[in-house]
């Protein structure tokens, strides 16, 4: 009894100190709510912490000018809900059809307030467990052998309240503004606070630092009232329609490019912001100079003593003084709340604003810590859509599936089909799947072949980066080879400096499909699962290691890959040759003939006709097949007549022969000899 009491009191003590949940999610933005949805559906013990009083606090403030640049397409001419998600970049995934973004805004580029309302509804209608007004200010680890990952996560909020979790999902986004420090940077206004009223800029000359969508959005707003706007950044402008990356400059905001190229005073400049310095003159005008001119001077000494570039180079580009300088340099992840033991490290190079994570979205530093949403974009930065709602809604689902397998023994969902459905299942997915389409080259559908290739297992939207760990991560077995289905753009098509409008940019013929430029399905065939080493050593630009065979379905203007001859036939031939079998469909009559004349039957007869599910076909259809020379008509045969021996078996040979191949004279000896 004493022991029981003791145990009970221990529970009570720990209960008071830590509120425990299996899963803790930081941030109730789109990614946090999306994760919460999947955890809720799976019946998991979870909690979401949100520092604000409502979900989506980032969208309550940003974008400053309130126009979202994610498209909200109302009509596609199709009722296929999965397909329509391809063109709905704002909705989160749920089973509730009320929670489609097109019910919240009719604008093609909706107002950010609609997003705030949407997220509020998403959290409340689905009854997600969100604890508002809870800002997590510190995260640390508590070692424990029993814990799922060998440690618990201890989260501390602004009221010093502690929470304990087995698994931490960080969906905090990137919200810390990027700031550069240079002499005179105190004169610079930030995007976060700058006025959005164009009146305030009337007759002013403005310099904008940065060249992303926020910079152009700011410029767009005041373009009509300023004297002129100059925009400076280190790198050249990257246009999203040239790079096929939605994070680059979108056409909706690029009015300044127009006025620049038409010489209407506005302009773009390239230069390193670190070299810059700004000095203010007596009239309050801001002059651009270079840091090295100021090296030994006190900036407060006054403008007269400072050298300006135009003193030496009298046609220096930014010699005109500015009234305002605005900083629009984007955001970075808040690394400050993580204890050093979590080893949350920034990435290297152009992904330093994101924490380092593996392709499985797990932190490189801490097991059991997963990064979701925008902060997870290092996996596919400047490649795919993982930093945006229409991308991370799928990667969040993928992480959830990985966790279900790892902690709850629920293997990755899959469907088993007979091999006759192989072509169909691929065609169905490449035509409607939106996760494959948005997260091109990052998420892949996997087909695991069963023994003897009579059946296969279909897994949807698995992260390509962890293909080598497939068996461990999904709980499924890949023993007899696999197909990996992804979508790709042409290898040399996209890029900031590429001309994406050149003539003959689109491929029409199936046999040249590998040269397709626009997004198209690609199927990789592996006889066995690639190893981690092969994944590491894959050729540059290849999302996957060298396969045993590869197939491209030729790009399609309508992204409709259901054409029987251009799309399905070459795919079938590819699959047939990988499996070494014949995947054609046969009418019951053909199967009947094969059953009597061959010891083996093709899969379509084996799995259809022989199980009493033969395709009888209507009279007209059989007639068409006869006319095509693919089916023999025996009704009018004179059975006593001695038919030419070529028609003796009307099956295989017949299928091949009657296709009007002209009979050409045999090659002459002259040619044979020359070889």
């Amino acid at each position: 009894l004493g022991l029981a009491l003791y145990a009970g009191s221990l529970c009570a003590v720990s209960g008071a100190a830590f509120l425990y949940h299996d899963y803790c999610v930081i941030g109730a933005g789109p990614a946090g709510l999306q994760a919460a949805y999947f955890l809720q559906r799976a019946g998991r013990d979870y909690i979401v912490f949100e520092r604000s009083h409502a979900p989506g606090s980032f969208f309550a403030l940003y974008p400053r000018h309130r126009k979202l640049i994610s498209i909200n397409k109302q009509y596609t001419g199709k009722s296929n809900s999965e397909f329509n998600l391809r063109h709905d970049w704002n909705s989160l995934l749920s089973h509730d059809r009320r929670l489609l973004f097109r019910r919240y805004s009719r604008d093609f580029f909706p107002n950010a307030d609609a997003m705030v309302r949407y997220l509020e509804d998403f959290a409340s209608l689905l009854k997600l467990q969100v604890q508002y007004n809870t800002a997590i200010i510190h995260v640390t680890l508590e070692k424990n052998e029993q814990a799922w990952n060998g440690h618990y996560f201890i989260l501390t909020d602004q009221d010093r309240k502690n929470y304990k979790c087995s698994c931490l999902l960080v969906a905090a986004g990137t919200w810390v503004p990027n700031v550069v420090n240079f002499p005179g940077s105190e004169y610079v206004e930030g995007y976060e606070t700058v006025s959005i009223n164009p009146e305030d800029f009337a007759g002013q000359t403005v310099l904008i630092l940065g060249r992303g969508n926020s910079a152009f959005e700011t410029a767009e707003n005041i373009l009509g009232v300023t004297n002129f706007i100059h925009m400076v950044s280190r790198s050249r402008v990257r246009l999203s329609w040239a790079t096929h990356y939605v994070g680059d400059l979108r056409a909706i905001n690029n009015g300044l490019l127009d006025t620049y190229q038409l010489k209407s005073l506005d302009g773009l400049l390239e230069g390193d912001l670190e070299d810059l310095a700004i000095v203010k003159d007596k009239k309050g005008k801001l002059h651009i100079t270079l840091r090295f001119y100021l090296e030994n001077r006190n900036i407060s000494a006054g403008i007269d003593s400072i050298t300006l570039p135009q003193d030496e180079l009298d046609n220096f580009a930014t010699r005109a003084p500015y009234d305002r300088v605005i900083r629009c340099l984007g955001w970075k992840f808040d690394f400050s709340i993580y204890n050093r033991s979590l080893r949350m490290m920034p990435g290297k190079g152009n992904i330093k604003k994101y924490p380092q994570i593996k392709p499985s979205y797990e932190s490189r530093g801490t097991r059991g810590l997963f990064v979701l949403g925008t902060a997870s974009h290092s996996v596919d930065f400047r490649k795919s859509a993982g930093g945006f709602i229409h991308g991370f809604r799928y990667t969040t689902r993928a992480v959830h599936r990985l966790l279900e397998n790892r902690h709850h023994g629920v293997p990755w969902p899959s469907t088993v089909y007979p091999i006759t459905q192989l072509t169909n299942s691929i065609i169905k997915r490449v035509n409607e799947a939106s996760g494959l389409y948005q997260m091109f080259s990052v998420l892949a559908d996997i087909i695991l072949l069963r023994e003897n290739a009579t059946a296969f297992e279909y897994l949807e939207e698995y992260p390509t980066g962890i293909l080598a760990e497939l068996e461990m991560q999904t709980g499924r077995k890949a023993q007899s080879g696999l197909f990996v289905i992804i979508m790709e753009y042409g290898r040399n098509f996209s890029g900031a400096d590429k001309d994406v409008f050149y003539y003959n940019r689109a491929v029409g013929e199936a046999q040249h499909a590998w040269q397709s430029n626009f997004l198209h399905p690609v199927i990789y065939y592996y006889k066995r699962l690639p190893t981690e080493r092969e994944m590491r050593l894959r050729p540059p630009d290849w999302p996957l290691p060298r396969p045993d065979a590869i197939h491209h379905i030729v790009e399609d203007f309508l992204t409709d890959w259901t054409a029987p001859n251009a799309h399905i036939l070459p795919l079938r031939r590819f699959l047939e040759n990988c499996l070494g079998t014949d995947l054609r469909n046969f009418f019951a009559e053909s199967c009947f003939l094969f059953a009597f004349t061959r010891q083996k039957l093709p899969p379509s007869c084996q799995q259809g006709y022989m199980t009493m599910q033969g395709l009888v076909g209507s009279q007209e259809l059989r007639q068409h097949a006869v006319q095509a020379g693919l089916l023999q008509d025996y009704t009018h045969t004179d059975f006593l007549g001695d038919r030419p021996p070529d028609s003796h078996d009307g099956s295989q040979e017949q299928l091949m022969r009657d296709q009007g191949i002209p009979v050409r004279p045999l090659q002459h000896l002259v040619n044979a000899k020359d070889e």
């Binding site: 060298r546 396969p547 054609r584 009597f596 083996k600 009493m612 091949m656």
Partner: protein, 836 residues
């Protein structure tokens, strides 16, 4: 087989190479233009050269010069150089001076002038090679004009060597060239005789030959001894090409009959290598002499068509019937040797000739395919649809289906529609998928057929439009047909996708399964097929479970089985108080099954033990099978599932009463467990002709009774047509058959179902392309300039290829890509529908 062909092509090329490599002198092109002095001083003794003389300032005759130049390479193979000699202006020597000499070509051997050719005799490559070789091989190739000349030569050759006699309609033709080229190689072995006299050809052959085409006869004079008799002749049956002549001569050189003392599976002769069959005459010590004579006789008949070997059964252990006397080995790899019992040598010959006919056609195809491969990929038939279902649906796409009777269901109206009708039939399909659409065709027919049937609502869901609905209804494959009944679990259809079967399923599903019968009258009416009235029009075997109140366990199993078989089987049950009386009427006691077949053969009673559900299902399915069924396309799988051999009677129409009775007796007899006795009505199931054609070279006289081992070995045996079909005869035949005393007429192919055609090898294409940074992907390498007639030295050869690469660079991907968007597909469409 193509490997074999390669082998002998290469051996021929090698021969030619040997023949010409000795005098070969390097460059294969036209020699540079020397002056007459240089030319004559450079002539080597014994070396032939063809020269023509032109003034420095050429007046023309370009066509002739081009032909001469192009022949240089061909003649080089025979050690003949072709030289263009430049005549200086002032030269007035024999060859340069005279005006008409300039329009001639001169053939020298060493310094000796052999022939001069007028330029009009050298009109093209064939004529140049033919005429030049003809002149050089003057001694080796005799030209004859009369029959007497020919006979003289023949008589001289008798006992010494063989003769090749060729007729060509004219000299200078391609056939003439082929003969001369063959003579160049074989001239020392055989005597070549040539004629252009049509009269001579007619005189030498028995039939009336077509004098407009060339002929070649191989005359076996070496073995001929009698002076009066002409030598035996074997005509070349193929067109006269060097390849065919070479093959023919090779075959004629092979021994007439090969004696074989090893395993025939391992044997390989020149015939097999050349793609011809090999006939074995099975011999024994006692009959050796006679067998040898037979073999020789057959060999002469088959000369050029097949090889003949004499296989001694005493020396080689053969695991075949003792009666077998002939075996046939085909050149196809992996094809087993066929052992046969033949009565007559003619049968052997017919057999081989039939085989050859098939082979010839296949070869032609293969050749075509090979040519296809050599051609550009565009011409490949990979992109031609070979799926009968897809193609049939594609050809029908312009026709609008009569879908008015079928309700379209969507995510919005699905559940509300289901609650409206008593039962709703739903076809789940995908509008892009061929099999789905084919089923939709049949479904339309069903709709037309069932129009006005009360209480049945036909509907469809396009899963391409409503994937959410389909996955919610757990539909993972297309097509899926389900019947939703109010308040009950839906039933998924699992039968043939024909209109008839679908209609029957929908109608049978109208009544519950099993149907509970309340009175004795109902039960009797049910067995007669009159009750319930909804089903009275249906021809179905009725199954009635009779249970006493004590046997509820068996009844529950029966009900479960009914749920599974719902829509496929007509099932009723009766468990009223007088159940015992009902069952005793059919001399069984409950629990029992009463079975009334649709034909009206009375009612069978079967006592039920205490079976499991699986046993019950299997038992019901088995009981529903007919004892002597007519096999049709839809019902074959049911009988195949039994896994037994088929004893099947093919009949041109309905079978006669007598046959039917005999067969039924047989089927009901003791061995019924061992095979499926059945028949096939060729009128109703015409595809049966296709089966017979596969089994027999010619359709046998009908009716024909066959034993088909569908599951083991695949042998097909034919019941002797001279015997009448009676139970006794069949049983004794079956005994002989099982004792291995009969020879199968045919064996079912064991071939696997391989991919019908290769796929595009994109991996290879991608690896071959050298990515140009910032450019479009590289094209296929330009076609090799080999074989073009640009001639000249290597430097001038390189030029065109450079040019072509420059062109490609200027317009990247030309010919590969259409403009985007391409409004209309060009040639593709035309090619696809050329047959329409």
């Amino acid at each position: 087989m193509s490997a074999q062909k390669d082998r002998w092509v290469s051996s021929l090329v090698f021969l030619l190479f040997c023949a010409c490599s000795i005098p070969r002198s390097g460059s294969a092109s036209l020699q540079q233009e020397p002056s007459p002095q240089h030319y004559f001083s450079a002539l080597e003794a014994g070396k032939a050269s063809l020269a023509f003389f032109t003034p420095t300032v050429s007046p023309g005759s370009h066509l002739f010069l081009e032909q001469i130049e192009s022949s240089a390479e061909a003649l080089q193979d025979y050690g003949i150089s072709v030289v263009k000699v430049n005549c200086p202006k002032e030269d007035v020597s024999r060859y340069c001076g005279k005006e008409n000499a300039l329009r001639k070509a001169f053939l020298f051997r060493g310094h000796k002038l052999i022939r001069e050719f007028p330029t009009d005799a050298l009109f093209d490559l064939d004529s140049i090679v033919a005429n030049v070789l003809f002149a050089l091989l003057f001694n080796e190739v005799k030209y004859v004009e009369t029959l007497a000349d020919l006979e003289n030569i023949e008589n001289v050759l008798k006992g010494k060597s063989n003769m090749v006699f060729a007729y060509v309609p004219a000299t200078g033709t391609a056939e003439h060239r082929a003969v001369m080229e063959a003579a160049f190689v074989y001239g020392t072995i055989h005597q070549f005789v040539l004629t252009t006299e049509a009269a001579l050809l007619k005189a030498t052959s028995l039939d009336d030959p077509d004098v407009s085409s060339a002929w070649l006869l191989f005359c076996h004079c070496q073995q001929a001894t009698e002076p009066g008799q002409p030598c035996r002749r074997t005509a070349l049956a193929q067109p006269l090409t060097l390849l065919n002549i070479h093959r023919h001569l090779k075959l004629m050189g092979a021994p007439l009959v090969t004696e074989v003392v090893e395993d025939p599976e391992k044997i390989s002769t020149v015939h097999l290598q050349l793609g011809l069959p090999l006939v074995f005459i099975l011999s024994q010590k006692e009959t050796y002499e006679a067998d040898r004579r037979t073999a020789e006789f057959v060999a002469w008949q088959l000369l050029g068509k097949a090889g003949v070997a004499l296989l001694s059964r005493d020396l080689v252990h053969l695991n075949v019937l003792h009666r077998s006397n002939v075996a046939l080995k085909t050149p196809h790899e992996g094809m087993p040797i066929q052992y046969l019992v033949l009565e007559d040598t003619d049968e052997v010959i017919t057999l081989v000739e039939n085989k050859n006919k098939v082979k010839q056609i296949q070869e032609d195809e293969q050749e075509e395919e090979e040519e296809e491969d050599e051609d550009e990929k565009e011409n490949n038939n990979q992109d031609i649809q070979d799926d009968q279902v897809v193609e049939a649906v594609a050809r029908d796409k312009k026709r609008e289906l009569p879908l008015e009777q079928i309700l379209v269901l969507t995510e919005e109206n699905f559940h509300s529609s289901l609650s409206e009708a008593a039962r709703t039939v739903v076809l789940f399909y995908a509008s892009w998928e061929a099999v789905s659409l084919a089923v939709l065709h049949s479904y339309c027919e069903v709709a037309a057929h069932l129009k006005g049937t009360p209480g049945v609502l036909l509907s469809r869901v396009n899963c391409w439009d409503w994937p959410g609905l389909c996955s919610q209804e757990n539909v993972t494959q297309f097509p899926t047909l389900r019947i939703y009944k109010e308040g009950q679990q839906s039933v998924t259809y699992g039968g043939m996708w024909g209109a008839e079967e679908l209609s029957s399923f929908i109608l049978l599903s109208q009544v519950s399964c099993p149907l509970k019968l309340a009175t004795m009258d109902e039960a009797e009416g049910y067995l007669r097929g009159e009750f319930p009235s909804e089903l009275s029009s249906q021809q179905h075997t009725s199954l009635l479970g009779v249970f006493s109140t004590a046997t509820s366990e068996a009844r529950e199993t029966f009900e479960e089985a009914g749920n599974i078989l719902s829509g496929h089987v007509r099932m009723g049950m009766y468990f009223e108080d007088d159940a015992l009386a009902l069952s005793q009427k059919y001399s069984v006691s409950p629990p029992a099954l009463l079975l009334a077949r649709s034909g009206g053969h009375g009612v069978e009673g079967i006592t039920l033990s205490k079976p499991s559900l699986q046993d019950m299902l299997q038992m019901i399915r088995y009981q529903l099978l007919d004892k002597f069924p007519e096999i049709t396309v839809p019902n074959l799988p049911q009988y195949l599932q039994l896994g037994k051999p088929f004893l099947i009677l093919f009949s041109a129409g309905d079978i006669s009463q007598v046959e039917s009775k005999e067969m039924l007796k047989l089927a009901k007899g003791k061995p019924q467990q061992e095979f499926v006795a059945c028949w096939l009505n060729l009128k109703k199931t015409p595809v049966g002709y296709g089966i017979l054609r596969t089994y027999f070279p010619t359709t046998p006289s009908l009716p024909v009774l066959l034993w088909v081992n569908l599951h083991a070995g695949g042998q097909v045996f034919k019941f002797p047509s001279e015997q009448s079909i009676t139970e006794m005869n069949i049983l004794s035949w079956l005994e002989r058959l099982q004792a291995g005393l009969e020879i199968p007429s045919s064996t079912l192919s064991e071939e696997d179902w391989k991919p019908p055609l290769p796929a595009y090898d994109f991996l290879q294409m991608m690896e071959h392309s050298v990515p140009h940074p910032g450019d479009t992907p590289a094209q296929h390498p330009p076609k090799s300039p080999g074989g073009d007639t640009a001639g000249g030295d290597t430097a001038s050869r390189e030029e065109p290829s450079q040019q072509s690469t420059a062109e490609e660079a200027a317009s990247p991907g030309r010919g590969l890509r259409g403009t985007a968007p391409r409004m209309a597909a060009r040639d593709k469409q035309g090619k696809r529908h050329s047959e329409l």
